[in-house]
């Protein structure tokens, strides 16, 4: 039989000859590391070392990528760099196409930065019975690989493939290594995300059929689809937009679609929770910026009020629920829902400042929430309980730990001088000209943020030493309650009942602290990378920028 019947799409912007393999290496390296975990499963120390080496090498390669990324080229209109493309399934017009803009670059940098620290955190974690550390690290690396794929794909089909594949390692991380209610949480997480993904698939196929109508042959190449975006009828765009929007709103999550996050965030092991809330959920907001706005510009404008309402509700509702939480992990998950509201607000306010703020917020939220989750993990490792009321007066026992928690909290409530302040300020300033009402309501969320963070700090750290977990840990002289996650051997070395940070834990936290403070004062390097891509996105949406160029964005530098 002949294969000549297949329609090969001849497009203007899809070079099929390969290209820069850097991103492919970034994708395949963690896959290789994860596969190596299988033969090493009996030799746990070696497996851990190999996993850590992989993650560090990945980080170095991402730094090299960052250095090689040209902001000048991006400013002069080169949409993607490190472009790689080969045909994949010609019958569907799909390509294995990779490429990054500034927004994707900062996201892969965030991922590569977090993973080695998380591995160090997981180094001495006590795993559920029958689970091995090599499996744990393999799943972490697999998650990292899918994240690299999802941020670097420039073919919408390929993006979808990674978007769904991302669920599987995370599902096993939660389901195999999570807390007592892990089965329920993992299945809920998987089904919610799968449902969103399948609705997106309907839109994806619709987009493909639309492109076949307009271009003669169906394609999934992002730039080709973007080129027909303005000529697609608004009514069609709205349907297609909604499909993508539901998937991203579940992933992000925006408020009516958020109920899976507190369960998944609370039951996931800490490292998975950091990756889940810190990076994986950002795929939703990243998707708004990369897919919803440029591919469906008219629909985005028509439906922006709806999204803004959801965003503002999320800010207030997430904050209020965070105040009422007893479980520390759920608490952090709810604060994230409030923060995702800010990101969505910035994304659908259509100004370059708000876009830049939202992108920077994605990075900063990953750092500050990541650190907050790590702090919760350190507390739970000592006390064996996730309940806030089981802790009290910890600052007297472990002053370093308390100080780090305070810093993480301050970063989370966007205190000036920490990283989050810059992004939150940019979002609010950028959103005000177009959406004054929503912005003013959102500002209230800042006050709530101060309330819930300070309350949390006061309850657990300040006052006399109290709380079941703390007392029990002190009495036992070693490890705390029944759910304590630390390795008993490690605990025995420490001596004290409720020890302060160990060297390893300081090693986990130090890079986070440095980045949080440095980005608070010098966000310039990151903004320089983001801004050209943000400008391109504004152009693709086709709305005039309400804030003149060189406004506050330049000033904050």
């Amino acid at each position: 039989m002949n294969t000549a019947v297949m329609n090969t799409a001849v497009m203007n912007t899809a070079p099929d000859t390969g290209g820069n393999v850097m991103l492919l290496v970034l994708l395949l390296l963690p896959v290789l590391g994860a596969l190596l975990m299988y033969p090493l499963r009996t030799n746990v120390p070696l497996a851990k070392a190999v996993a850590m080496a992989t993650a560090l090498l990945e980080f170095v390669l991402v730094v090299v990528t960052w250095v090689g990324y040209s902001t000048d080229a991006a400013s002069s209109g080169e949409r993607f760099q490190y472009v790689f493309s080969v045909p994949w399934i010609p019958a569907f017009g799909t390509h294995l196409a990779f490429g990054i803009d500034g927004i994707a670059l900062v996201m892969i940098a965030l991922t590569a930065f977090l993973v080695p620290g998380l591995m160090l955190f997981a180094w001495a974690e006590k795993l559920p019975e029958g689970r091995t550390a090599s499996g744990y690290f393999a799943l972490l690396l697999a998650t990292q690989a899918t994240l690299m794929g999802v941020f670097t794909a420039t073919d919408v089909f390929l993006f979808y493939v990674f978007f769904e594949a991302m669920l599987i390692p995370m599902y096993f991380l939660i389901g195999r290594f999570g807390g007592p209610n892990r089965q329920y949480a993992s299945v809920k997480f998987f089904l919610y995300s799968l449902l969103g993904g399948l609705i997106m698939l309907a839109s994806l196929i619709g987009l493909y059929v639309t492109s076949a109508d307009q271009l003669g042959a169906g394609t999934f190449t992002w730039s080709d689809l973007q080129s027909i975006a303005q000529s697609t009828p608004t009514s069609t765009q709205i349907w297609l937009f909604l499909g993508f929007f539901v998937a991203f709103a579940i992933k992000a999550p925006l408020v009516p679609f958020h109920t899976w996050l507190p369960d998944a965030g609370a039951e996931a092991p800490i490292v998975a929770a950091v990756l889940l809330v810190g990076v994986l959920d950002k795929v939703g907001t990243f998707g708004f910026l990369r897919y919803c706005l440029p591919l469906f510009p008219q629909a985005s404008q028509v439906l922006a009020p709806l999204v803004l309402v959801l965003a503002v509700i999320g800010i207030i509702y997430g904050a209020l629920l965070a105040v009422g939480q007893k479980d520390m992990s759920r608490f952090v998950a709810y604060t994230s829902i409030a923060h995702f509201g800010f990101i969505a607000l910035g994304t659908f306010a259509f100004s370059s400042q708000a876009f830049a703020g939202a992108t920077l917020y994605m990075v900063n939220h990953g750092l500050s929430t990541g650190m907050l989750f790590v702090m919760v993990g350190l507390l739970v490792a000592r006390g064996g309980s996730r309940l806030m009321s089981d802790y009290g007066g910890v600052s007297k026992l472990a002053p370093l730990l308390a100080g780090c928690l305070l810093l993480a909290g301050m970063s989370s409530l966007a205190l000036p001088g920490t990283n989050s302040f810059v992004s939150e300020f940019l979002v609010l300033v950028g959103s005000f000209p177009r959406e004054p009402v929503a912005t003013i309501i959102a500002t209230v969320g800042i006050i709530f943020a101060a309330l819930y963070i300070l309350w949390f700090y006061q309850q657990t750290m300040q006052g006399p030493v109290r709380g079941n977990a703390v007392i029990r840990a002190l009495e036992a002289g070693g490890v705390g309650g029944p759910g304590a996650m630390i390795d008993p051997a490690v605990a025995a070395e420490r001596g004290s009942g409720f020890p302060d940070l160990t060297k390893r834990e300081i090693g986990v936290l130090a890079p986070l602290i440095v980045v949080i403070v440095v980005l608070g004062f010098f966000p310039g390097p990151v903004l320089d990378v983001i801004n050209p891509s943000v400008q391109s996105t504004i152009t693709e949406v086709g709305l005039p920028d309400p804030v003149p160029a060189g406004g506050v964005v330049g000033g904050v530098r």
Binding site: A91, F92, V161, L167, L198, L201, W239
Partner: protein, 538 residues
């Protein structure tokens, strides 16, 4: 006298032997297989039958490959226009042959249980362990049902090999079914494929009652479905004056005749076909038969019967009723939605793995209907691809199911699969991958196939149906996920089943299922090209 002399001599219609060689090889092989069964001594039958079956399928495959290399793209009609050999026919024949090969491997396997799945009598096995006639046997078999003894006493139970000719005949019938160019040939082929299947369903002697109940159910309902088909055929003949598919299409165009016969006939005909394809609401036999039949036979039915039924449905709807699709499509929408809903929702409530996969096949039949209803070239090629992808995945699933056993036989109750990942990580990994394939997760063939079918349906203006199908995909994903949850996240029960180390045959079959599921998910280009080569010829 003169009149008789003037009658033209009866000339045999021209036959393109090269084109129909695969079909002839399989049917001829089936006849030889019957002779083997009749004349070979008992101990020689198993090796002879296995060798013959494999040889037949291989020769048929080679004949198919040779012909396909030089086949005209437009396809040909041969045997007095009874059979059409066009692109889809060749693809379906290839699909049936490879899936049939995989199923034959599962059927021939004797390593998983002594004597294989098809022994003469379960009591024989019990009496090997205990003294004959003293106990009722550990399997709880009624002592009154002691079957006639085969072979020397104390000898290990031997396999009954009559299953091989049955399967070969069924396979030949399926190949004729998907190539039939007129309804009468189609009906004959339907019977040729059905009758052996009714019989082999009842061959699970270790669970005789369940198996025989399944066979009787399948037979009774199948006979009804055949009657429906035949009645529809009669009505259509009344309408068009011909049983040829093309003639029906021609008669339906621009005619002042009433449509009652046409659509009445179509409805009855399609009911017969939907029954074979286990499309809801005509699926009621599926769970019982899947559960009761010996697992290798279930694999054969799930993979091959579905291919045959949908291949024929594709031909009927596209060739004979393509021009009138606006009239019947509304009804088929309802059928497709019903099938997806029944499969996805009832699948959630099942506690037996084989029944669950049966409901999953009902849901998949609903998805397949989307491709069948798209009267475009993409509709045909995507349906063909889906059939191949689904067939291999489901073959692998049943291969895996046959390996998890307790002392009483296969452990198909869901609770028995709890914590299996701990004891047998490779088996659990394989099963997980195959289930994700059935759920349609990217990088498996299930996703590529769903994508192809749904984009064909959307391209032919069925956007709402595609959205509904995707929602039901999410619902169906839940019960696949439940098995994965059980295997990985649950604690192992005390008296859990053991995982048998499979022999070469089952290993090859399962590996084939896994490899094809992966390859069609990652690099489907070649197969998509084959599926898209050449349209249906009327």
């Amino acid at each position: 006298m003169n009149a008789l002399a003037q009658v033209a001599p009866l000339t045999a219609p021209p036959i393109d032997y090269a084109a129909i060689a695969p079909l002839l090889v399989v049917l001829g092989g089936a006849c030889v297989s019957v002779l083997f069964e009749a004349f070979l001594p008992r101990h020689q039958r198993w090796p002879a039958q296995v060798a013959l079956s494999v040889l037949v399928v291989a020769v048929a495959g080679i004949a198919l490959g040779v012909y396909a290399g030089s086949a005209p793209v437009a396809g040909i009609v041969t045997l007095a226009s009874a059979l059409t050999v066009d692109g889809p026919t060749l693809f379906l024949w290839g699909t049936l042959l490879v899936l049939g090969f995989g199923s034959l491997l599962l059927i021939a396997d004797r390593s998983v249980e002594p004597g294989g799945a098809f022994i003469a009598s379960a009591v024989e096995r019990a009496s090997v362990a205990a003294a004959p006639g003293t106990t009722t046997g550990p399997t709880g078999v009624d002592p009154e049902h002691v079957d006639r003894s085969y072979g020397a006493p104390g000898e290990a139970p031997t396999m009954q090999t009559e299953v091989f000719p049955f399967v070969l005949f069924a396979l030949g019938g399926m190949m004729a079914f998907v190539a039939a160019n007129d309804l009468l040939t189609m009906f004959v082929a339907l019977e040729v494929l059905s009758l052996p299947l009714y019989l082999v369903c009842g061959l699970a002697r270790r669970r005789r009652l369940l198996s025989q109940e399944a066979a009787v159910k399948y037979f009774l309902l199948g006979a009804f479905a055949s009657a429906f088909f035949l009645y529809g055929l009669a009505l259509l003949y009344g309408y068009a004056g011909s049983v040829k598919l093309v003639a029906i299409a021609t008669a339906a165009v621009g005619t002042p005749k009433s449509d009652a016969l046409l659509f009445g006939g179509l409805a009855l005909l399609v009911v017969g076909l939907l029954f074979k394809g286990s499309v809801g609401p005509f699926h009621t036999w599926t769970p019982d038969v899947y559960q009761g039949a010996p697992t290798p036979i279930t694999a054969f039915m799930a993979a091959c019967t579905k291919v045959a039924a949908f291949g024929a449905l594709l031909r009927v709807l596209h060739v004979a009723f393509g021009s009138t699709h606006w009239e019947w499509r509304g009804v088929m929408w309802v059928v497709a939605i019903a099938s997806m809903a029944i499969g996805a929702v009832l699948g959630l409530t099942q506690t037996d793995l084989k029944r669950m996969i049966a409901y999953s096949s009902v849901a998949h039949a609903g998805f397949l209907l989307l491709g069948v209803m798209a009267i475009t070239r993409e509709g045909v090629s995507s349906t063909l691809f889906y059939l191949l992808a689904y067939g291999f995945t489901t073959l692998g699933v049943f291969g895996v199911i046959s390996l998890v056993r307790t002392a009483d036989g296969e452990a198909t109750h869901l609770s028995q699969w709890a914590g299996l990942a701990k004891r047998s990580p490779i088996l659990a990994g394989v099963m997980t991958f195959l289930l994700l394939g059935l759920a349609g997760i990217p990088l498996t063939s299930g996703f590529t196939a769903k994508f192809a079918v749904f984009s064909a349906a959307l391209g032919d203006g069925m956007a709402p149906l595609v959205v509904i199908a995707l929602v039901f995909s999410a619902v169906a994903a839940f019960f696949y996920l439940r098995v994965i949850v059980l295997m990985y996240f649950s604690e192992t029960p005390e008296d859990g089943p053991t995982v048998t180390v499979p022999g070469a045959f089952t290993t090859v079959a399962v590996t084939l299922g896994v490899v094809v599921t992966l390859l069609l998910g990652v690099a489907p280009t070649l197969v998509l090209g084959w599926a898209g080569a050449g349209g249906l010829t009327g």
